[in-house]
Symmetry: C3
Subunit: 501 residues, 3 copies
């Protein structure tokens, strides 16, 4: 046992218990907050668990960098204070969106209830007590802002070789569990240092799935485990990432990560890794290829004291990062860029008024990554009421810009149902406000070329939906307004014609 304790000190130079000198020597004085603030990694895991039940098909995490929900609310409002005064209603709405995210108390309960109950199915564990319950919440060191020479100069003065963003790394633990799914019941059990062979401490990963069980041995301590119904992944102390099939067969050779792991998500066939160096990678495990490779979060984190509050991998393999400044970005594998998909302080968002274009039922039923990151208030178009003083033509323009943003965001997120939802809302808005030119452009794009031509680059589907099916849904909306009768019949006829072909 004492050997183990020493090992931990050895592998974790930042541990406070046995080597207090580490802290005093270390390069930053506040790298290691008091232990009372520390949440065990296991508890973090149960967050995933809870989350996965709320919105199946999304792997969501409030990464450990995150402020506690209380802090977050406080901070968020602080940021907003300067800009908005009538923020109270939206705050509660935002909390709705935040509800799915961790509340320490409930996590504790869950952990006591669910996760422990699962354990009974597996073999009894001798040592469920955590030996190393502390985490290493590296404070996020902001990069010097591009336009502030004084800051850059300061950074230069302190002579850091390269100012790097840091995300926190998980603590090494003797053992922990991770629930992949409740229905069917699938969970992972990690036990580190099960045996010492040839000078190396072996770790064991076990997967329990509907009564069946498989295990695998790894030559290094497992720091994080994640899984979906299709794939299981673990990241180890030696910076390796290992990926297994649902049946436990290793699918890829050990991947050496460029920096220690910070977090890991699986969703469907996709795997996402955040490293301590604030880089993001996503792989399609089935096709054995990278979708996103080592993308720096530098781009979205540069600025004053911005930190990551959420990370998410959609079922379509799109990574989404939520920040403490209220903005959310997804990284598009095709465009290879960070795209803004939600911004709670955005004036377009706050002034867009499309209440007449969404039924309350639609607003409630809208789910998906976009709704998740933006909050339901936005789906309902309710925020606009705040700024009735804005001139109508401006509000109209802002709503138009907002709705086109929504379409583009849903498209980039590969969120089919949300794209469909916003196409309908957009159409209603265009009809209500009389944007004939945009309606024509929309219909034209959805219809495509009537006569087949080889040179056409028109794609008949969008996010798995046939564009002409979408047009079929959109046309009745247009037809309701007498003003657009001609447009309606024109496209209705062509659609009919194409159907009969």
């Amino acid at each position: 046992m004492s050997v183990h304790a020493q090992t931990h000190e050895l592998f974790n130079p930042h541990s406070r218990s046995a080597t207090p000198s580490t802290n005093s020597i270390g390069m930053k004085n506040n790298l290691f907050p008091p232990a009372t603030k520390i949440e065990p990694m296991k508890a973090l895991d149960s967050r995933f668990t809870e989350r996965s039940k709320v919105t199946p098909g999304l792997a969501v995490t409030a990464t450990p960098v995150g402020l506690s929900p209380l802090d977050r609310a406080k901070d968020g409002s602080a940021l907003k204070e300067a800009k908005l005064k009538e923020d109270t209603s939206s705050d509660s709405e935002e909390k709705m969106a935040m509800k799915p995210f961790p509340i320490p108390k409930r996590k504790g309960e869950l952990e006591g209830a669910e996760v422990v109950e699962k354990r009974k199915k597996g073999r009894p564990r001798k040592d469920t007590k955590m030996l190393m319950p502390m985490t290493q919440p590296f404070p996020q060191i902001p990069v010097p802002v591009e336009k502030e020479p004084t800051r850059a100069a300061t950074a230069a003065a302190t002579a850091l070789p390269a100012v790097q963003l840091k995300l926190p790394t998980p603590a090494a633990q003797k053992s922990f569990t991770y629930q992949v799914s409740a229905e069917p019941s699938v969970y992972l059990e990690v036990e580190n240092e099960v045996s010492l062979v040839a000078g190396t401490r072996l770790s064991q990963l076990r997967c329990f799935r509907d009564g069946r069980e498989w295990d695998s041995l790894l030559p290094s301590r497992i720091l994080v485990a994640s899984g979906s119904l299709e794939v299981v992944a673990v990241a180890c102390d030696d910076r390796t990432l290992s990926v297994f099939s649902a049946c436990g067969r290793r699918l890829l050779p050990s991947i050496l990560l460029p920096a220690p792991v910070s977090n890991l998500h699986c969703s469907g066939h996709f795997l996402m890794v955040l490293t301590a160096a604030a880089t993001l990678s996503v792989w399609d495990v089935q096709k054995q290829m990278a979708l996103v490779k080592n993308e720096s979060l530098h781009t979205i984190l540069s600025g004053a004291d911005i930190s990551v509050t959420q990370s998410l991998l959609t079922q379509q393999g799109v990574p989404v990062i939520g920040l403490s400044n209220g903005k959310s970005y997804c990284f598009s594998a095709a465009l290879e860029t960070w795209n803004l998909i939600a911004d709670k302080q955005d004036s377009l968002v706050q002034c867009a008024d499309f209440r007449n274009c969404v039924t309350s039922q639609e607003a409630l039923s809208s789910t998906g990554p976009l709704a998740l990151m933006q909050g339901r208030a936005i789906s309902a178009g309710r925020l606009a009421s705040r700024l009735s003083s804005t001139p109508h033509h401006l509000q109209q323009g802002m709503t138009l810009a907002f709705l086109e943003n929504q379409l583009a965001a849903a498209l980039t997120l590969a969120s089919g149902p949300e794209y469909r939802h916003w196409v309908i809302v957009y159409t209603r808005f265009l009809v209500n406000e009389g944007y004939e030119q945009r309606l024509r452009e929309l219909c034209k794009d959805l219809l495509g070329p009537v006569h087949k031509s080889t040179g056409s680059s028109w794609e008949p589907t969008i996010l798995g939906q046939r564009k002409r099916d979408l047009l079929h849904e959109v046309l009745p909306v247009i037809g309701q307004n007498l003003r657009f009768q001609r447009l309606f019949t024109e496209y209705q006829d062509q659609l009919e014609l194409l159907r009969n072909k």
Copy 2:
């Protein structure tokens, strides 16, 4: 007029003439030069305008780093002096190639005439005075040269955290216009800070196209705007890039650039961005994918005091960068490398002699990105005359190497007509100098396998041209020389055979 002259000094921190203080003070102190020196972005835009008429299908810019035409000529000859003496004739030839580029005087005229006239079509603008006339012309900081330890040591001594190349950023302006095309008449009008809503200043982008008009609102100041007949793009103060269809529909969610924008080009469906951190990106907007992603210009700029004088995006989406040292590079999306396509100091270029292989008519009619970057003198093969003292076998080898460079460069530039041109010139040269082996290799590659085989990797087309059509053009050149009668009839027969199939 005096405003224009000052502009060049402003954008060119290395200019020696009018602002000696710039050099002596160094980079930190003169980040924000006095407002009086500022040229409105509009004037710069009219350069683009003029350019687009001269060579349609190429988006060319003398980026603001560029030397003024006068300085450029001076500097260029200074560089050459050490190597060449009989430079006078070529200088005038280079000016031919340079003609399309901005001459301050004509810009002024254009601005007065065309752009202002366009404005009348739009709504009258109340406020054309600049409210925010400051710029941030970051001087280009050269990276320490790989092989000079002393320089590296110096850089280390000044303790810069990371020596970064910088390209200048455009000034924020209250309003400006950008002409996309003269026929049909398409132009953009930007007005920043049209309204203050919810604490944010809204900006407006308007596009006028053959009488029609659309506009869009953005929540940040627009710094640069660019467009083609297919796509419109603007980059804002908050590092976002927004992309619209020709009809004004947003095509992509806001892209967050990794650094402030330096320059923006649209050409066909392609969009190119240069950032202040000297990185280059190109997207195919239609396919919504990246072609070139955040490529550092570091590779081509490393060395002493090299700066960017030109940036260009071909109609095929190939980005080209011209440097102050006379070299031009394109970035190949497939090879993912910087490829040298023009080098005015290259000895191969200067010694290559293929005058007998080009008719004067061909020399005059040769246009395209390669001719643009190299100058017409090279197309004509006339430079060689300078070095008649070089032994024939060396000059022969240099000409061969040069012509194969031209073929490879045209291929990488995806410049079909130029490729065809240089294949003909290359063939004539091989015939004249008796390179039978190379002629065989060329014919063999153009003919391809006579019998269809499944395993063949032979592509029947090259840059959209059928290889066998090229062979059909090449063979008569070979047939003219009695020495190659056998080669001629051999391939002629096979070509006939394949035609009849």
Copy 3:
């Protein structure tokens, strides 16, 4: 002999034995060691030569950083000492695997005999003496280790702008040769500074191939040359990389490398470059596209005093790097990650026992990149004998993990024959140890869907082999065990059924 010994010290700044000053003086002072210590590049080239004959289809190099075989063995055992005692048997086995690699004595002989003999075929060279015998063996500067704040602090104190890994660069030489292949006889001859034209020193590359000869002129000194039967490449002093067809036609425009070249390999249609900045690139020259682009070796080299001992490019274009710590990594172009494919200190490797699953004949005949990097001892499963004290269930788990690693590694290396080999061994092991579930998973994957479905993502082939052919080989192994008769007949029947279709 003494020259060779010195060479190794020269290229290995970390060697302790003969040049103690290297360590104490540090990196800036010993950049240019006395010329007497220098080994001509030619000698290095003959290593390639020898190698290429031993294992055709693999371009292997002990890069100049490498330890001498003696040093390597010493160092390796030093590393192991702490962990293993019964290492003697394996050491000799490892030497078997190392045999193909350069032994100084034989190199000298080869150089004297073969290469010089080749020269007679070419034109006589006037000046074979080296005019420029200095090298720039940049010492490899290790990156600060992630978890060692003190080291990082030290690096910061010395105020290096960016701590970069360095690989050694080849010396500039007046002339050298490189043998591409012995059968057919193909070799390259480089002569630098053949002529001074227009202020530039021209260099000449000559290729001799079965009596035929071609040459090409380049405007900068050639530092390294490499070739295969399909492609020839040279890297020059001015950081350019030039690529030619087997017949000498330039295939690509000059590529500007981001840093000086360190090493160059050609294998089939593939070209690999290592730069002094420790980045790796691989191109498919035929398809004119990048497979691996500027990948930093930082990821695999971070840690204490690790250096590159081997670099290799497989016939399939997969780059492999061997390190002084006994680990080998390949870079997967699809996954875009460094994957561990061999680790001589890995406990899984050392404890895996599958002797019963490999015939001695199979063990001897196993060749390919995986066997090359791991050593033959591993192919035979003999290492396991060392740890008979390990509990059976652990050893079983470790063997399973090891064998699945091998399959994944062979897959990532695109090494078809090795993949087939390890599938058979894996099957035998699963049969022997009674892993029915894994056997089912294997058979199911190899059989694929019996009824064609459009939505299936099953690939019928793997590394060019039909999966059902593999199943046909695997099934008899399963059938030999009475316990798996049902599994056997089940899949045998389905395979028959599919055959008759």
